[in-house]
Subunit: 353 residues, 4 copies
């Protein structure tokens, strides 16, 4: 137990954007204390060498990865690493009693074949993997509260599923008509130097990628959609890179089963569905979300429209890809796992403009 | 006839973004000479008062609007005005023998009720309006060549229709499944001061507008789709505002009639469809267009993907909204109307990055 | 006295960017309660009509301006209006016992002729104006604590003066060599529709304005510089508009009196000068500030370099123009005026990237 | 001799931003023919693999570097490589009769010690290096016309020197008071993946680098300033990274020797100085340049202001860093070296906005 009764927590992979969001959020969280930062290539450095602007508040050093140290010092640990590394650490950490929140894809899939098909690798942790809970609190709040291992939802899946879930869960739409046209800022690509993410390349332009179901978030979205619909669901998911730093907008299309439903009906249904979800904000009729509204918060804004000419519903959901789409959601899960208030330490007011 | 055998042309509404593109393009066009700039609020000003960077090449003054003057001096005239003004000028100009290219919506609709329903106003020019040709050369090249009055296609319709036309014309998709998720830079809103288009508002963010068939480009797209399909077609069209100056990307989804078609089939079909269209570039398999590639050119880049899991085709088309989506296309129409080469004076190479 | 012993405060001019920052900051301030929003053109509207993303937290209506109402309900009031309006309200509000924090230029000048020369207008409040304190806490902390009327410092002056003050106060540089090359995001222009601030105009570009001492912040900077130096000082101030929403960087040049001073000396001197100033962060040698580090916070980051070849010191200061440069600074002043801790309710951690 | 009497030219290092600008410009140049593209890491690839948008016009392959091949096929060659490589190729190419235009720093310095001090390396080409001409046509037009080897001016030096030259050449200012506060888009960093140039890092922010005379362009600027002034000159040069792709603005300050000079005097002097320079545009009084005006062109826009309060002149110069600051300027030099018209094939009209 940390200072002042706070829960001691650690971060493995603190140098990336997920890491720095977590550090930022944990500094202001009243119930936990950040006691460990771990990394490989950055081990030995001060965190403020990587992010000088936090030098005045964070004086932790990045330590080399040692699972015993982590388990001894931390009651819970966030793994913020590239795919394929968490499953080499989580079994030991869990065995030593640590609560583990993985921000990679390693523990998101209930079917190990799906993971293997999309991410490869030879895993020895099948048994543990089946105990992992999908970290999207709005859908799996109770199971997360009881979990010791959470595979936090991806950024695109979070925005997509929050828009689709009420429709699928209540059978309001034909699942096979679902199309998710998603748009993300470039910070989703991480703090690694990639030519296509240079400002000189990615600014003033817009393009799709992973078109035709080739993006790895497709099976993740489909897994949850299938769970909600009660049968196998295939969706069309197309991500686009937008010339901005943060934010995801998912524009979701689906055909209504009952063409008599109007916009206000759906606003009522969505509002009821998310009544107990403090971070989902259903917008009034005629208001469509801007990603900027969610920036720097753990909120998801949802706007809903019905086109009576086509019998389609169009749902737009906006999140901050690095907070509700990543670090904030992980912290939301931790709050639940520790029995704290779900909203604790999570910002709900963006700065505008 | 102008200097050196060049065709004398004019621009009414030269102060906006459409106007300045036209001026820029006409300065380098070898077959025409810009002899007249007209405007209302800016009358009396030098063009370089509005756009100082062109002061070294353009020393024209904006003249007050006078239809006689225009018709006397110009063999062809571009009307680059807000909707609802061109139809007050075109009848006189046409009667006096001027070729008229209207960049507004006034002459885009074959059915006057559609125009009236979406744009309002009391028009007295129904007879003339029926002679207007829709200014999208890739579809109506021959009719444009013979026209005296052209209603140039809108920016979103251009990107959308170039992506959809081969599919509809050849009956490859189920028309009612067509969804156009379109994304535009903010210059599409023109050079008028609007709060929502301020950099402080529109940068770092992304949102949809006119959702559910409420955008005025919807009927324009549907008119042409219906023409191509041979029956009334309703499409889903959703525009989004992107934090960049120029460019439109349309991501178009539709269900294939024949699920046996593969990507390469469609690339072949599109390439054949646009064989005689020098500005449409069909990309090789696996390459998806970036709007920046088209910037500063009259090109439309088209990428095609098929998702065999969903039997959908996804077509992405990228244009410069102010050139192929506006001024360049108008000039392309003029080239055809004057019997010149279609590509004359129209840039085909962007600067990158 | 408001709810739970909180101090009731109001905002006049809540619809602009200064207003929305204040609303945002006050929502999370533990010592005050926002009880009044006033406006003219927006009177009668809900605040969430103007800023829908805050609808879930702010349900105040904009009320018409009535000085009696304000004074009755508010112990302190922020005036966030265009220049020339505050001085028509402040005399009444002060007379009724309200603490007044003006965010415009109206109460920034100790010499009424200077205000008159740069801003015009016929003022009847000279006596009151002489009691106003310049709202830059790092320089005038004690006087602000005792003031009833504060003329909060402008955005450029804040960045410029925090960089220059230690140098001038301690006579380290030749004042007449001071050059301030300042760069600001476009939100400094406010939420008014101006053509030159459109994204289409202001993105992808960079230019200076008000060159040669023509910007109104010049006399404001010079007034404080003269106060610090103990004699009349003229500085060179050149503002530039940068294609970004928020942030100001001031790059300040001056010739050292003592060419023997090295960078580390100056870092020591600056650190000492700002020892009691919790929002000023002096960076280690070789680290230069990014405006983004300060975004969403009330911080000012300062980097210092000496060029021994030219005997010049170069100081770079970065702030969020809407927080430390406007609303946050006003709240910092209010904290002092109310005897609360200076940092109360003011963010010190930005989100990055 | 190439097709149709065009001069055959080649590019070594075609994969970077300098290379792609050159390819783009050469495609539309009426007097030359691009016959060779060479590279190391990209050898064997199609140019359109690197830049798919040019696939419809450029079907050249990148060839491995072979100096004999280059000299046999090309009458002139552009070396667009990282610093330190050109001096290993130029001696052979020159010996074989090729005209060489180097875009790196290798041939910019008349004093080999200066190069060595700032760039390192062991060079064996001192004799050849002394024959190289500094590739800034506005200053060294005649010498360039006679040269066989040109070391093209850097991007910052081009903007800085075009602003400073008339002042120094004519002794109008005190050289030691010269301060260049320069701002550049991020494309200046090239097409190499660097973390600090990611959009996620470099967007929405602004910072200085190389402060205090530490940037390698400092000695390059000082060399030419000294040449113009007739004695050793030290200048203050501070580069900043701006959140945009292209463009440089240099804001240059200096104290006038004769405080009686007014703005119009200086406009006259600058206009005369650049009378024979078709790419330099001196703006009318009160107009300050925007970098966007120069984008996609080889122009340099210069605005001039005098501050009578401080006896300083402020000169602002705007260029496209990749055209006038790099590839366009190299082509301008080639035009001179080939005895062609200086402006041939070089764009003078930007697209706006």
């Amino acid at each position: 137990m940390g200072d002042l009764g706070r829960v001691p927590v650690g971060i493995v992979g603190a140098s990336g954007y997920g890491g720095v969001q977590l550090v930022r959020l944990l500094m202001e969280h009243p119930g936990v204390e950040l006691v460990y930062l771990g990394g490989e290539s950055s081990a030995g450095k001060s965190f403020s060498d990587l992010y000088p602007h936090l030098g005045h508040r964070v004086d932790l050093k990045i330590e080399p990865l040692d699972l015993d140290t982590i388990a001894n010092r931390c009651q819970a640990v966030f793994l913020s690493l590239p795919n394929g590394l968490a499953y080499q650490m989580a079994p030991t950490l869990v065995a030593k009693g640590c609560k583990v929140l993985d921000l990679s894809a390693d523990y998101r899939f209930s079917n190990p074949e799906t993971y293997q098909a999309w991410y490869g690798g030879e895993r020895q942790d099948r048994e543990l993997a089946t105990t992992a809970v999908y970290g999207l609190p709005e859908l799996y709040r109770d199971r997360i509260a009881d979990a010791q291992l959470v595979g936090c939802a991806g950024c695109y899946p979070t925005a997509s599923l929050l828009a689709l879930s009420p429709l699928l869960k209540q059978g309001l739409v034909l699942p096979e008509t679902a199309i998710i046209d998603a748009k993300s800022g470039t910070s989703g690509g991480g703090r690694q130097a990639k030519t296509n993410l240079l400002l000189a390349e990615a600014d003033n332009t817009l393009g799709a990628y992973g078109v035709g179901g080739r993006h790895r978030h497709t099976p993740e979205i489909e897994q949850v959609c299938s769970d909600l619909a009660g049968h196998e669901v295939t969706v069309q998911f197309t991500p686009h890179l937008i010339p901005m730093v943060r934010g995801i907008l998912a524009t979701v299309y689906a055909n209504l089963r009952d063409p008599g439903l109007v916009r206000e009906d759906l606003i009522t249904i969505f509002s009821a569905f998310y009544r107990a979800s403090p971070f989902v904000k259903i917008l009034p009729g005629g208001i469509y979300p801007q990603t900027k509204w969610a920036c720097g918060t753990n909120l998801c804004y949802i706007g809903i429209e019905v086109d009576p000419r086509t019998d389609r519903v169009i749902v737009m959901s906006a999140i901050d890809n690095l907070i509700k789409g990543q670090a904030g959601q992980a912290l939301q899960c931790l709050n639940l796992m520790l029995g704290m208030e779900e909203t604790l330490g999570l910002p709900q007011l963006s700065f505008y403009p």
